[in-house]
Symmetry: C2
Subunit: 314 residues, 2 copies
Amino acid sequence: MKPYAFGIDIGGTTVKCGFFNSDGTFVEKWEIPTRKEDDGAMILPDIAEAIKAKLAEHGVSMDDVEGIGVGVPGPVLDDGVVNGCVNLGWGVFNVAEKLSGLLGDVPVQVGNDANVAALGEQWLGGGKGFKNVVMVTLGTGVGGGIIIGGKILAGSHGAGGEIGHIQMRKNETAVCGCGKKGCLEQYASATGIVRMSKILLEKDKNDSSLRSLAEITSKDIFDAAKTGDALSLKLVDTLGEMLGTALAHITAVVDPDVIVIGGGVSKAGQILLDAIEKHYRPVAFHACRSTQFKLAVLGNDAGMYGAVRMVLNR
Amino acid sequence: MKPYAFGIDIGGTTVKCGFFNSDGTFVEKWEIPTRKEDDGAMILPDIAEAIKAKLAEHGVSMDDVEGIGVGVPGPVLDDGVVNGCVNLGWGVFNVAEKLSGLLGDVPVQVGNDANVAALGEQWLGGGKGFKNVVMVTLGTGVGGGIIIGGKILAGSHGAGGEIGHIQMRKNETAVCGCGKKGCLEQYASATGIVRMSKILLEKDKNDSSLRSLAEITSKDIFDAAKTGDALSLKLVDTLGEMLGTALAHITAVVDPDVIVIGGGVSKAGQILLDAIEKHYRPVAFHACRSTQFKLAVLGNDAGMYGAVRMVLNR
């Protein structure tokens, strides 16, 4: 294996760039802005220039680069074709081929950002030491990534691990961002628990420390729950019920060693895991009932780690 | 590759044996009884003897056998360890090692019977030409098998594809064979639809051709539905709702090319696919909304095909 590799995580605002030794340790990490003008036409050339400049800075030749792994916020097929990224302005094209062409045909592997973050956590984070991992990312939405035998399950339409859109309630009237009603994301994301808090504060007339807040965040709800606020505990329990039930569905299908919970909401810590596990264990298939739950540990670096892992573990 | 291989499908009553050319065509298929006495201690020796006799009959040496694939009715780990088979009287042991030892250390691969049948259908049946397949087997229970990139997703506890135990109803009072309540299997299996018919015939006072039957089978229900019997149509619709919803959960996780429906209930044909698809499409994640549904085509031979495929596609 060649001594160096890059892990690139393209987000809607910045591109996180990691220059790695091929043992998975950082040489350096840095960020560049994501230029979304002209349908994101400059994003890949910007990345190519950044990589060339970094190599020059360190006096390293492209011949010493094993490859470049890239995470993108959209569906990705196995061959590196991205099936449109609304956030970047991208349509359908082969990102792997394009970036490789800009960098002297160096090998490029592309994955969906949630899947790539899952791979990072499986490799060096909350799922370290396990080969089959389900990762759930609780942020603005609910993302997911499935790692089987140390590889990303990308799916036939790049929709592998899109667990945020499992329908959890048939009688929901609010519409999810995906157009359906009753998606897991509507209850178990940062946005979802805040949405649920508004409904509950309206319906439940009991006192709650949440009522004094001008604007409620998911952190506020978990903080209040930790101090014993009954209404907040109820909200956390509902999130746990939705996620625990959905995860029981998921483990009956892919039966992982471990479930890793990440994203901003996971900063709530043990109270979150407890709420999920409480509802997961009774409904999980018996062989999966004792599947471990772990918190993610790599934070915002998970994408870079997972991206570089794709080229180091082809 | 060596010119021959065996595919063995161990059932509770008979062991289906397939002697294959390594291109996947049968030389011959036959059955032997499954001797379950003494905790199933004779099952593997019986299979070993049957294989030796078949080779002698055809004048073929064990040196010309690429390997032996075996499907067993219980959870199987990647290394060939079977985690107990209640139906066979087996506890936990390495079936691959044991059978290989009885046959001069020929390579043996072992898989769960539902997973192996899914692999057979993916290779040469309803999923032919696709690499990512979800197979559902609707028989006495609801079995499932997930094929990703042409390989079985066995899972960390041998529970990959155990989709019959996804919880579909939280308010169910009847208990599933697994000990939980509200499992897919309680609604979508042959037993499940018959169970539901009894409940509906009690509750719904309208006329139905089912009322004239001394004992109702799932075939009776589908046959009556095909003639327009309203109550039977309702039962088929409920089965479709349960299975369609569960499959929407499943495709959001593994995103297959195709969903193959097999098992005895699938003999109902298009009416079954229509009922499932009607409920699947509106709740499926948009990228998976047009995922194809197909009927299984290999019938009882799927297990033998899938078993031999494990050794021909290692």
